[in-house]
Symmetry: C2
Subunit: 343 residues, 2 copies
DNA sequence: CTGTTAGCGCGTTCAC
DNA sequence: GTGAACGCGCTAACAG
């Protein structure tokens, strides 16, 4: 039962611990024969090195950390898969960590950096607005992916990079499109969040588009979901509330595809046809949007581009080839079946 | 940027390291005043204890590990949330780890157990079939949730617990139901997997139900998706292939809800109405099933029951109140809109 | 209540 | 090519 350690292996092989260490870590200066003997014993005994002890000593642990906000959200899955591949290609290990609602992502990162000796950190989701003070403690390169820099104060912009779409612009693009289809009474499903965030930016885009086209912003058409913008339930219930409120609208813009799925269902239940009676649009361009009935008109975030550039930037930063940047990629308006020109 | 350590804090406060340690770990035997002084300095300096070092020493780390197979799969999300709550209630920490396709979950568990000094391990997804030898190395309680014990050899059944539905039975239940609606030509979307697995059990259930009702098993109606049963794309493409094959069927049973979503879309694209022309059924009872159009008939796995019993069992095992068990919960057949009596 | 000290398991010098 | 010894940062046991 007692835990088996490197010492134990060394004893059984009649060698010193450092030799075992060399065998495990693929060092070159070791006799192939002894290495084989050691590896055999390791396999027999089922010995597993203790990671805590390794991390404590190892100075050159090539490891990058990815902190994901919201486990509920399938949106990041394709990005994570790409990041995993690239990380491995570069010979780095990856530590993936979900950040709970009650946790501060930078605190978690700080802790992880010490524990795993991270060489770089990627934040997926969450906010890039953090105290410059704390950010500075993170003394490895940091990149926020899918979160723009508009969200933070200018002071700390050179403390990290961002790779994202321009959420305000993309949101505006979608509302412009709906307006171009003849819609004037456009409702929106969003989250009550006055903090700088992608949510806020998307709402801003909606308001700005309406204003630009001299359409009055009708507060009864702005509906706030309860807390989470990535649950169908919230999309369903908030849409139901919108319908029940008696407000008249010909289009409904949901700031996430997941919300839109709930909206589609709620409209259908109310006997409202999409897109004949009401046009519905989402945001994100998740896989799901291609499989709803009707298919969802949405803004597709270029996740592959974002992921690629994130990794390129991160490794450049690690190798000190260049400084921090703030990159913006254009989203793509996917015109699908859920929106239609108004009669 | 030299890392700041506990020693440094001790120096700055003019106390010993153990006093700092006591302050950090909320020990009772410490002067509140000195504790406050220490905590202040810690806050100022932004000191963060190194987890690796802690894990290395700490003997009583109350920590449980959850290993999740397949990050793509939103199915486990509600379970994870529940497990998190319960773990915290009991004063335990939680380590959540996703297991990649190329990894062996028991190996990962072994590693994690050493690193984090786990007191218990929960596997979500994957297989419970592992060499008894390896399982024995895991010398803390192990529970497989949502995976039945039928999958493993009898020898090692007392080495771990399982909490799940009976996948074969539930699958049979669904096919029985479809037959009761008058369907005889029932196609199935599954995965080519001869290994013992939930996938295999669900296919077995399908075959057994047909046999029981003296319906011939038509191999052209058994369609295998490519690798993953939790992607809509696979559901879509495999259904398309089924349609294109010209095979006649009046019902389509998908062994996951996610596959069924793809199937719904493919049928719709082919001009086949659900449920008028073809009935569609899923399996799992995920949130998504309530939001498709039409709503999906499915087998709802009692995730709350499974989660509750998993946690109860785990803590009982940790406290050595009882031995390993293999619990089966009944699934619930949700009759929704995607299935219909045949004319 | 507090300081000193001995390891936790391993990687890394530095001798040999 | 190999082993002995040191210390990573911390907690726990033991004195005081």
């Amino acid at each position: 039962m007692s835990e088996i350690t490197i010492k134990e292996i060394a004893n059984r092989c009649g060698v010193g611990v450092s030799t075992v260490s060399r065998a495990i870590n693929d060092h070159s200066d070791i006799n192939p024969a002894t290495k084989k003997r050691i590896m055999d014993v390791i396999r027999e005994t089922g010995y597993i090195p203790n990671n805590s002890a390794r991390n404590l000593k190892r100075i050159d642990a090539k490891c990058i950390g990815v902190l994901v906000r919201g486990i509920t959200n399938p949106f990041f899955t394709p990005m994570i898969e790409f990041i995993e591949q690239e990380t491995e290609k570069k010979g780095y290990a990856l530590v993936l960590r979900h950040v709970e609602a009650y946790e501060n992502e930078v605190d978690v990162a700080l802790e992880l950096e010490k524990e795993k000796r991270l060489r770089g950190i990627i934040f997926l989701g969450g906010s890039s607005k953090h105290s410059a003070e704390k950010m500075k403690q993170l003394n490895v390169p940091v990149i926020f992916a899918t979160i723009g820099s508009d969200i933070s104060d200018n002071l700390s912009k050179n403390a990290y990079s961002t790779v994202s779409v321009d959420d305000e612009l993309e949101s505006r693009k979608m509302v412009d499109y709906l307006i171009s289809l003849g819609h004037k009474k456009i409702a929106i499903l969003t989250e009550a969040n006055e903090e700088p965030s992608v949510v806020k930016l998307r709402l801003d885009g909606y308001i700005n588009a309406l204003k630009f086209h001299d359409i009055e912003v009708d507060k009864s058409l702005i509906k706030y979901v309860d807390k989470r913008i990535y649950t169908m339930k919230n999309g369903y219930e908030t849409t139901k509330a919108l319908i029940d409120s008696g407000a008249k609208f010909t289009a409904l813009f949901c700031i996430s595809d997941v919300l839109a799925v709930g909206a589609l269902r709620a409209l259908s239940d109310a006997g409202i046809r999409v897109p004949e009676d009401v046009s519905v649009a989402g945001f994100d361009g998740q896989e799901l949007a291609e499989y709803t009935i009707p298919r969802l008109t949405t803004i597709k975030q270029p996740l592959l581009d974002i992921s690629e550039e994130t990794m390129r930037l991160l490794f450049d930063l690690i190798e000190e080839k260049r400084g921090h940047k703030h990159l913006i990629f254009p989203g793509e308006l996917i015109e699908a079946e859920s929106t239609k020109k108004i009669n």
